[in-house]
Symmetry: C2
Subunit: 125 residues, 2 copies
DNA sequence: TTGACATGAAACCAAATGGTTTCGTATACT
DNA sequence: AGTATACGAAACCATTTGGTTTCATGTCAA
């Protein structure tokens, strides 16, 4: 009925969508073990500070990043916690690619002649 | 040498971007254990067949879905394999939220008040 | 106080995205 | 042969997205 809403983190933005952009993934990586102000962050990317700032906001709305005001600067740091949702989403599918590995293993062990026969797309190109 | 080269799927579209859309995630879920033709698939979504078809194409370009022509219909099925990339991307960040769990656990053990009630960042200040 | 630095807000823009309708074509059914 | 079904392609449209430039505000340093 009522979703548990496990923590008081109301993700205004989807974590799936947040990590869809390569720049945003780069930001997460950069902030992985250090807290950084915007200008320093943006020096690592080929776009304006403002653009980076907007990406940071999206990450923040997804809960993937926390900001802290220090004097005249705003420092950001990673918060990997929302990625747990991604993890659990992924976990569901894990068995399906494991199946695939299984069948590939069986295939390799049996004999490696004529992959075409097994159909599938193993030999598609 | 004569190995099938298991990663013979050149992903034209990003898997990150492919799963960013909720409709597309719904499609993956639907195709998880059955192969289905487009019309049957689209009956599960509140949009036109053509729209669903376009989503399927994006999934296909990301390698997350395989298509097979059977008579006049095109049947789609899940291929979870590209999700392994996501998994390895995620694996890197795992230790960061584990840190967080660790500290939360320590926090909980030191005092038995329900952390839920206090909101997640109770320890923040 | 004056000026430099750090940042966000706003207005703006081009391209991508998610959707639609229309139409053509291949396959199946009688 | 003729009709219905399954589908993709194309043209089109509104909104979102990712980026820019400009401007206002707050803070630090001399």
């Amino acid at each position: 009925m009522s979703k548990p809403n496990p923590a008081a983190s109301p993700p205004k933005h989807d974590v799936f969508q947040a990590i869809a952009d390569p720049t945003r993934r780069g930001l997460l990586l950069l902030l992985v073990d250090q807290e950084m102000p915007v200008t320093a962050i943006s020096s690592h990317f080929p776009m304006t500070r403002t653009a980076v700032s907007k990406h940071l906001r999206i990450l923040e709305e997804a809960g993937l990043v926390k900001e802290r005001k220090v004097g005249r600067e705003t420092r950001y740091r990673l918060d990997a916690d929302p990625l747990r949702e991604l993890k659990s989403w992924l976990a569901f599918y894990e068995r399906f690619w494991e199946n695939k590995i299984e069948s590939l293993r069986r295939y390799v062990e049996s004999d490696d002649t004529d992959p075409q026969q097994q159909g599938e797309d193993a030999a598609k190109s």
